[in-house]
Every structure is written in structure tokens, then in C-alpha cells.
């Protein structure tokens, strides 16, 4: 279970958001939505242990995330969370395979079969040797998704996964994320202001920031 308690965040004394509370049970989904600039990406960073909140706690089951030492947070993120960033955060000079292998290395995974299965499912198996900088936005998105599922995460976070995609690609990417979450029994926390997504996926919880 993911529990978010009284989460607040301020920059230079100005509150971006405050007192956010929610709970997501195992294998349930949460949609976080709201207008641009409201702090959705910041909230995702906080939930993933990349940014300390000003106040509040985050619990993953019994673990209070920000009570962990920074190295332990890094380890936890690698082992339990999968993140698809809005701008993908792939290493552009590496090939698709190398980007995925980095994630494998971070988790000390020796088995490459899972990586090839993922590449097969995202439809990039025959392009695994291609450098990321040469890929289309849709392809980069699929690499980012494959990388997020390398460690069979319990929680998957997606930040605006469809913001720069057309309708066909949006449909395909959302189905892909959903399928992979079901395969690994992961909870999905998706951040978007894209109205199309709500019609494509039924979320168990919706959190509207800025209300």
C-alpha cells in the first residue's frame, strides 16, 4: 500500500501544494491530474524519493520513505519503483539495449531474457542496437516504459506519458502501460493533464490537484 500523509511542498517560502493525502492499495491505480504548473511533476518526484517534501510522510507498506538514508532511498527506488519521465530521461548516446542494461546493472540482474522479452513486447526488439537519439518520440516513450518495468516494480509512476503523442500512439502507449502493470501486478500512479487518458483507462482513484 502507498500512503501519502499531509504532503506539502514549498519553493522559496511559496507553497506549491499542501496537505495532500491519499492511499493506494496493492494493484490499484491512481490518476493525478490538474492544470500545468500546479506541481504534478514535483509530487511525482517526491513520491519517487527524488525530492524531499517540505512536510508530510510517504509510506510504502511499512517503510517511511524519507526516514531512509539517501543511499537506501536510491536502492528502494531501483528495486520497487518504475518511473517513466515526461522527457524520458534516457541516455541519448547509448543504444536501446545499453539503456536497458544500465537498469539491469543498477539492480544487479544477470538475466537478460527479461530485457529481451520487454523489448519484444514494446516492439523494439529489432531496433535494440539503435542509438536512442535516432528514435522517434513514440519509440523513446516505449524504451522508457520497457526500462521502467525491468525490475518488475510494485509501483509504476508515469509523468505525462502521452503529452506529445497523437491519438493512435496515445492509445497504444496507454494499453502497453496497462498490460505491463497487470503482468507484474504493479500499482500505476499516472500524472497527466491529458483528458484523453481518462477515457482510455478506468482509474481506481483520481487526485485532482489545485482543487
Amino acid at each position: 500500500m502507498l500512503i501519502c500523509e499531509n504532503l506539502s511542498f514549498s519553493i522559496d517560502g511559496q507553497k506549491l501544494f499542501s496537505n495532500i493525502d491519499f492511499k493506494i492499495k496493492k494493484e490499484k491505480d491512481l490518476l493525478i491530474t490538474g492544470p500545468s504548473g500546479i506541481g504534478k511533476t514535483t509530487l511525482l518526484s517526491i513520491l519517487c524519493g527524488l525530492q524531499q517534501p517540505t512536510a508530510g510522510n510517504i509510506f510504502y507498506n511499512d517503510i517511511c520513505l524519507y526516514n531512509l538514508a539517501e543511499n537506501k532511498i536510491d536502492e528502494f527506488r531501483g528495486n520497487q519503483l518504475g518511473i517513466v519521465f515526461q522527457n524520458f530521461n534516457l541516455i541519448n548516446t547509448f543504444t536501446i539495449k545499453q539503456n536497458l542494461q544500465l537498469a539491469n546493472t543498477a539492480l544487479d540482474l544477470k538475466d537478460n531474457d527479461h530485457m529481451y522479452d520487454l523489448l519484444q513486447r514494446v516492439g523494439l526488439a529489432d531496433k535494440s542496437h539503435v542509438t536512442v537519439s535516432k528514435l522517434s518520440i513514440g519509440e523513446k516513450q516505449r524504451v522508457a516504459i520497457a526500462r521502467a518495468f525491468i525490475g518488475k516494480p510494485k509501483w509504476v509512476f508515469c509523468d505525462e506519458p502521452t503529452s506529445s503523442l497523437d491519438d493512435n500512439n496515445t492509445d497504444m502507449i496507454i494499453q502497453l502501460i496497462k498490460e505491463e502493470c497487470q503482468r507484474y501486478k504493479s500499482s500505476l500512479i499516472l500524472i497527466t493533464h491529458d483528458k484523453r487518458i481518462q477515457s482510455l483507462l478506468n482509474f481506481n482513484e483520481i487526485l485532482e490537484l489545485g482543487e
Binding site: C48, L50, R77, G78, L102
Partner: protein, 371 residues
């Protein structure tokens, strides 16, 4: 790093090996008697066989000195000829005892114009037992030969690790016989000459009075090998210091180079490093990777420098006449080289810490946002 390490390696090798060679070449001789001139020249020519002799001394007078009550024993030597740049030394059989020399093949001479050769001479010149060779005038090969009286090789010495390995030893009569054809005065026994007299005292206290006695009362000079060589090293030591300071400067610049290269690499790759953190690489892991990168650069750089230094030293040794006199089977320098290498690696480690700490303190979210 490579350049600095190369210079310092050559400096250490030259310094250490020449010191060891000078030490090993002197079989604990206390004093050398020779013609007046530079005492250092006398020592270098008669013990280390590098320089030219200061002149000759009368053999009759030399024998008187050998019988002096302060002297335990003495060995006369006569220089003047060479074979393929290896010096021919006329002496008596006690010369071999000085170096604890043992025969590998053959025997010591029993008549004039027979010779015993050192192991390096045998290897370089391919002379063998019963083979003849002709000595040439002077101490370097000039082509001006004593073809009328060839030497016969009767013995080959085992390697001693001293200058003896580079000498051709014959008896005094051979040298006198060769040169009496040119200088008829040598036919008279009273006019026989030797180049120097290598002496040991009965008692070390004679070191104060005996040289003064010779220098004041005769037309000869007495020189102490240890004193002259330590004077020489005092002079060359200053030059070595300058070279060492220069190499230290180069090495310091290379430390700065490593530091700035790493800092630059980190700046260029800070986005990639932040990505690694999002994937679960811990701060400590990233710190270690950066440290390993820096240390690999300095390890390889310094190792290649060591290798180049060794190669350059060997090349100098091979092409120099002095090199032939250097005894290369000594490894005392290894300790000094390894210590220096270790110190350099420690400083490299410290230089790498700064960029590593920068990586350690990196704010991932800000880096990802700013990218």
C-alpha cells in the same frame, strides 16, 4: 602523468644504478696511488675504468710503496690499450682476489700475452678460449692496433656483477712488452711504469697520514675512492635534484589535469549520472565509479610512464660507453620506484576525491529539471 613519471623514473634509475655501480666496483680499496693530476680522474680511470688515467708512475717506486708498513697489500695496474672498447688491464694475479673472481673456463695466464676476459667481454666480443685478438692503442677503439703481438684468451671469468666483467686482464709483462717496442726506455727495468696502485691499509687510521705522505713527498698522488666518489655524487646530486623538481612539477600538473578532466567529465555527464541515480544506482556506487575512473587514468598513466622511463634508461645504457660499465643486475632501485609510484597513486586518489564528492552531493531532481 606519463611524461612526469617517465622523467622521474629515468632520474631514479640513473641515480640509483650509477650509485650502486660505483659502490660495487670498488672492492673496498682504501687508496689509489697514481700520477699527479685530478684525484677524481685517477679514481674513475683506475677503479671504474671510465676516465683516462692521469699518467704513469714508476714501477720501482710503486713497489716501495707496497712495502710501506701502513699497507696491507697493493695491486699495480697498467692501462693503455683496449679491444673493441673493452679495456686491457695489465696487473698481477692478486687483482682477481680483489673481486673474488672465479674462472668459468680455462685458467689464469702463466706467460706474457695471455689474457683472461670478463663475462661481458666474452658475450659482446664472442672471444673464446685459445682465440687470439689484437689490442688497439688508447682506451677507446681507434683502429690503431698492436697487430705484431696478439693476445691469446686463456680464461673466461664467471660474472661478478662488477667492472671486472668488462675488463680484459693480462699480466704487466704483456703491457710492457707491447709498449717497449715503441718506448725503448722500457727495456730498462728501472724505467718500467704502471698506471696506478690499488691499495688497502692495514689500519684505517692510516687514511689521515698516508695520503699526506705521498702527496707531499713524492711526484705521485694518493686519492681515496670513497671520498672522491662522494664528492662526485654531491655535484651530480644537485643536477638530479633539479631533474627531480622538474618531474615533480610535471607530475603536479598532471594531477591538476586529472582533476580538471574528471570535473569536466562530470559536468558533461551530470545528466547521465542523475539518470543512473533514478535507476537505483546509489550515491556510493556513483562515487566509486568516478573514483575508479580517475584512478584508472592515473594508474595507467603512471604505469606507462614507468615503462617508458625503463625503456629510455635501457636505451641510454645501450648506446653509451658508460653503459657498458654499468652493472644492471641490481634491483635496489625497485624499492624507490615502487615507493614513488605508491605516493603518486595516493596523491592521485586525493585529487580524485574532489570530483567524486561533487558527484556525491549532486541534486538529481535539479539536474534532471535543468537538462
Amino acid at each position: 602523468m606519463i611524461l612526469g613519471m617517465t622523467v622521474i623514473t629515468v632520474s631514479i634509475l640513473v641515480n640509483q644504478i650509477t650509485k650502486d655501480t660505483f659502490k660495487k666496483n670498488n672492492p673496498n680499496l682504501d687508496v689509489v696511488i697514481g700520477a699527479k693530476g685530478s684525484p677524481l680522474q685517477l679514481i674513475l680511470s683506475s677503479i671504474h675504468h671510465i676516465d683516462i688515467p692521469t699518467g704513469n708512475i714508476n714501477y720501482k717506486n710503486a713497489k716501495k710503496i707496497m712495502k710501506h708498513p701502513a699497507i696491507k697489500f697493493g695491486v699495480p695496474i697498467s692501462l693503455g690499450d683496449n679491444f673493441q672498447n673493452f679495456r686491457i688491464v695489465g696487473t698481477d694475479k692478486s687483482f682477481f682476489k680483489l673481486y673474488n673472481a672465479k674462472l668459468k673456463l680455462g685458467s689464469i695466464w702463466d706467460k706474457p700475452m695471455q689474457s683472461v676476459i670478463g663475462s661481458n667481454v666474452a658475450n659482446f666480443t664472442h672471444l673464446k678460449i685459445d682465440k687470439f685478438f689484437v689490442g688497439s692503442h688508447g682506451l677507446v677503439d681507434t683502429g690503431d692496433v698492436h697487430s705484431e703481438q696478439p693476445y691469446k684468451v686463456v680464461g673466461i671469468l664467471k660474472k661478478t656483477g662488477t667492472i671486472l666483467d668488462n675488463l680484459i686482464i693480462t699480466n704487466l709483462d704483456s703491457v710492457w712488452s707491447l709498449h717497449s717496442n715503441e718506448d725503448l726506455s722500457l727495456k730498462n727495468n728501472n724505467n718500467l711504469e704502471v698506471t696506478a696502485l690499488l691499495l688497502k691499509y692495514k689500519n684505517k687510521t692510516s687514511a689521515f697520514s698516508f695520503p699526506r705522505l705521498i702527496n707531499k713527498n713524492t711526484n705521485m698522488q694518493a686519492a681515496s675512492p670513497n671520498l672522491e666518489i662522494s664528492k662526485l655524487f654531491k655535484i651530480t646530486g644537485e643536477a638530479h635534484k633539479v631533474i627531480d623538481y622538474l618531474s615533480m612539477l610535471i607530475i603536479s600538473l598532471s594531477f591538476a589535469g586529472i582533476l580538471f578532466t574528471l570535473l569536466n567529465n562530470i559536468n558533461e555527464r551530470k545528466y547521465d549520472i542523475a539518470i543512473l541515480r533514478t535507476l537505483g544506482f546509489t550515491k556510493i556506487k556513483i562515487f566509486s565509479i568516478t573514483l575508479i575512473e580517475g584512478m584508472t587514468i592515473s594508474f595507467l598513466g603512471s604505469f606507462i610512464g614507468l615503462l617508458f622511463g625503463g625503456i629510455i634508461y635501457k636505451t641510454i645504457e645501450f648506446f653509451s660507453l658508460l653503459g657498458k660499465n654499468i652493472v644492471t643486475n641490481q634491483f635496489d632501485f625497485i624499492y624507490e620506484l615502487l615507493t614513488m609510484w605508491f605516493v603518486i597513486l595516493i596523491i592521485s586518489f586525493l585529487a580524485c576525491l574532489l570530483p567524486c564528492l561533487k558527484v556525491y552531493k549532486q541534486n538529481i531532481r535539479n539536474t534532471l529539471l535543468n537538462s
